[in-house]
């Protein structure tokens, strides 16, 4: 578990980062290092160069605007947890990030690292999918934007080119009064979720749910939008019975990536249970 022999660079501009990535086909970007360092220690990957984003200015900013919240790629979990206004501006984001790992990891792990790493059980990719976040990238042809919907291709796989740097993520402003629920089941507090479900919707004046959104993590090769659940509930008045029925729908929308069939059944059942529970949580309905 010693690191392989590699070079280390800490450029001061995005252009230099891209130039380094272009010049070294197997270079790897390192941000917080919370996923990459174990990969290197286990020698599962041996890049010739590590390109550290630590000297780039401005990537650690959290901006709260009228239309959106922008998180720089190097914003850490601890920054989200401690930000005075985010808990109001993006309550579900903060609630989900509360489940990420432990203090030591939270002090280093970053938003950009998590999105680019694309672990299907991670909270940040799940949230990005749920709210249709815009992912900002800087590449050989300069800056461009990607939709979260198109971003995740598979486990640890995204549309990012080898020469791209993820620079930030824009989250649409959270409407006042939007209701949400999030629950995940992990073996221990802070472990990767075996499954998790986040839901949100707006209350219409008719008492029905609008802009219904639901996402499952840990239950597929990428975060999975539960579009069946969304369609099933859109425009309806949420009741405990409907929440249960939505849970059953959710079970059909996920295919957990585990070899053991029994474990897959269990995780599917978790998605069903958590869908029903988060819907009730969001609607303020009695659990059970």
């Amino acid at each position: 578990m010693k690191l392989p022999d590699l070079d280390y660079c800490a450029p001061a501009s995005l252009e230099e980062v891209v130039a380094l990535l272009s010049a070294n086909a197997d270079a790897k970007i390192i941000s917080g290092g919370q996923s990459l360092m174990p990969v290197l220690a286990f020698r599962l990957n041996a890049p010739s160069v590590l390109v550290d984003l630590g000297r780039l200015q401005g990537l650690d900013r959290i901006e709260i605007g009228a239309d959106h919240v922008r998180l720089g790629a190097r914003v850490r979990w601890i920054d989200i947890e401690r930000h005075p206004a985010l808990r109001t501006a993006q309550p579900l984001l903060v609630a989900m990030i509360d489940h990420v790992a432990h203090t030591q990891v939270r002090n280093r792990g970053t938003v950009g690292g998590s999105l680019a790493h694309a672990d299907p059980a991670s909270e940040m990719p799940g949230f990005a999918r749920l709210v249709d976040a815009v992912i900002e990238v800087f590449g050989e042809s300069g800056p461009r934007e990607l939709s979260a919907e198109d971003f995740f291709l598979g486990p640890l796989e995204t549309v990012l080119e080898p020469t791209d740097v993820l620079t930030g993520v824009r989250l649409p402003a959270w409407p006042a009064g939007r209701r949400w629920g999030f629950q995940e089941v992990a073996r221990r507090r802070g472990d990767f979720a075996m499954a998790g479900v986040a839901v949100c919707f707006d209350d219409g004046t008719d008492g029905a749910v609008h802009d219904m959104r639901a996402v499952a993590i840990g239950a597929g090769s990428t975060p999975v939008r539960l579009s069946g659940v969304e369609a099933f509930l859109e425009g309806r008045v949420l009741t405990a019975e409907l929440a249960e029925a939505a849970g059953a729908t959710a079970g059909q929308e996920v295919s957990p990536m585990v070899e053991d069939a029994g474990e897959a059944d269990y995780r599917r059942a978790l998605v069903m249970t958590l869908t029903a529970r988060t819907l009730k949580q969001a609607a303020g309905l009695e659990q059970e």
Binding site: M1, K2, D5, H102, V185, R187, R188, Q287
Partner: protein
Amino acid sequence: MTIVKPVSGPVVGQPIERLEDLRLLRGEGRYVDDIHLEGMLHGAVLRSPMAHGRILSVDATEARAMPGVHAVITAADLPGHDHPDGVPTIPIRLFPNPGMDPFRQPVLAAERVRYVGEPVAFVVADSPELAEDALDLIALDIEPLPAAVTSENRGEGQPALYEGQPSNRVWGYNAKLGDVEAAFNGAPYTRRERFYVHRHTGITMETRGVLSQWDPVAGTMTSWGAAKVPFQNRKMLAQLLGLDLEKVQMIEGDAGGSFGVRGEFFPEDFLVPFCARMLNRPVKWIEDRREHLLAISHARDVHCDIEIACERDGTIRGMRVRADVNIGAYIRTSTTITPRNVSMFVPGPYRIPNFASDVAMVVSNKSPTGTYRGPGRFESDFFRERLFDLVAGDLGIDRVEFRRHNLLRSDELPHPLPSTAPDPHDSELDSGDYGHMLDLCLAKFGWDEKKRLSGKRIDGRYHGIAVGCFIEGGAAGPAENVRMVLEDDGKVSVYTGSSAVGQGVKTILTQIAADAMELPMERLQLFHGSTTYVKEGFGSFHSRSTVMAGNAALIAASELRSQILAAASELMQAPVEQLRYEAGTVCSEAGATMELTALAGRGIAYEATFRNSKHTYTNGAHAVHIAVDAETGKIEIVDYVGIEDVGRKINPLTLHGQAVGSIVQGLGGALLEHFVYDGEGQMLSGTLADYLVPLATDFPNIRSQAVELHPSPFHPLGAKGAGEGGTIPVGGMLGNALADALADFGVQPRDLPLSPARVWHMVQQGRASAGRAGEG
């Protein structure tokens, strides 16, 4: 902050804060990896990637040519010693028998590899990184063989590991008490069950490490990183290196945990010093975490077929046990203990007048096993206590009453344990009031209150409770040494053969020695665990150090006081009978006094040996209250109470820490920790993200209380070994509490661990067999 609270008068029994802690908290600990020697090289182990295979070739040519590499050794480079194929093998420390010799582990695999992680070659290089780089350059050609992964039914039908050995059952133990056949004949009630306790082990915070230095002039080998049993390992190393015993020294520094697993003699304990001598350079090897999970002794992994015969009123007539212990690929230093303990300890503190056990040691293509906190006892308690709840249910007897009825009474003690064969070590339960301990536990737990929650669904979760009784063996012989030296400055140095592996032995022994010398603790200095300190030492295992070294300290102090009086008699020119020793001062009848500093330079010292073959049996009861989410399978510990009678508390504070930590480790084993192997013998839980040890936040609700009602009758100190008792009952408690909580679903756990997925599946099965629709 004062770390050592000033205490006047005797300190034994006082909650003294650990002498060890201030230094460790300040980062001043010295672990083996903190030691750097001039010219030191670094080792790395090439481990088998395959569970079972025939080694066709190990080609290290390229690795040897790599810059920075000083040596690569394979089995072919090792001297022939005591093994037919020429490779030295690891001796068996506990209950060795010549019949086990074919199954001893070669220090490097020679012809076959038998588990993933088995050492095949050892590289020495300028840095640990280079050594690891060189591993990639060794060409290892192994012809795969099918892997044996289970010990169930004696491992029948599994591929054979050893040529010429038709069966993977390589050894076994039988124990007997009374006439079990007669007990089952005509018994009004019998029940038979099969249980399984899965493979897991103790995970030490600090991984293992060895640093060795050869002195070519003196012809001496010094090895740092020893723990637990340095004296025994010294004998093994001396023998394997062909050195006289006094030419080998083992030095114990700080050690980040043992739990029984760390400190045994592993292949690396030979490979590192062997290379240090070969290269005439200091060599260090520090185990990394991935290696640790494969290379440390594994534990548990026991299938048990258990049968009980009872009267209708619940009186137990007899019990039969047939168990298969999956010992892994080889018999190593302490592999025999788990099967021996399973053969003897299933009866626990209960009156089982007729008992017979037949325990097989079955080899498999998994990591070799050794002792881990409560070896064979955690398993035995799971089998017994699970069975008891099932039996009480069948007979319509309250589970508390069933236990109370069958617990041994005080007036039945001492009570012989079943005698195991071969190599019997007869033992008897020494003293205690087991029924009283059960009552104390029930009262502290609030059993009568909580009973109403049994099986109830509250806020979506099912509540369950359980209670059970246990014994913990301690004070393994044969002996322990303590040497005391009166220093010129009037301080007393105390040297012991016991080892400090984080259990607070320094604090405990200082307390005992301080009282025995009537001196404040500051006037004693304790040295432990290195083979330079005492002639012979036996180390720290089987909850033994407090009892064994503690009593040796009492003997040493008594002799030291005699020597002090004799020396003072000469100086004060007064007959010894007219002198008395009082709190570090010699007083004469005439009123003269002499301080210990006046005795400087007179060589006052004594090395005492305490010999004891009788074990102590700490005993008690545990109770647990859990809440189960039937939809997610998650179990929360709402309350956990452990009560134990330790005979005499030397330090209630360190004891409490041991007890709570021990319970947490038991909960880890019951709920989280699991070495999962696939059908090819590959370990799937090879990182701490997969092998889940309890975190500080997981089990906050643990209460533990120790009492000192029945001191050990076998030795002056009266203390009974403690520290493992917390772990022993936990599996049984959790299994029973889960059955209680999920009684609506007819859930009866028979296998550990109780992982959420497994709990959920049991609920599904219960629902299916009850024909019940999934309720929300």
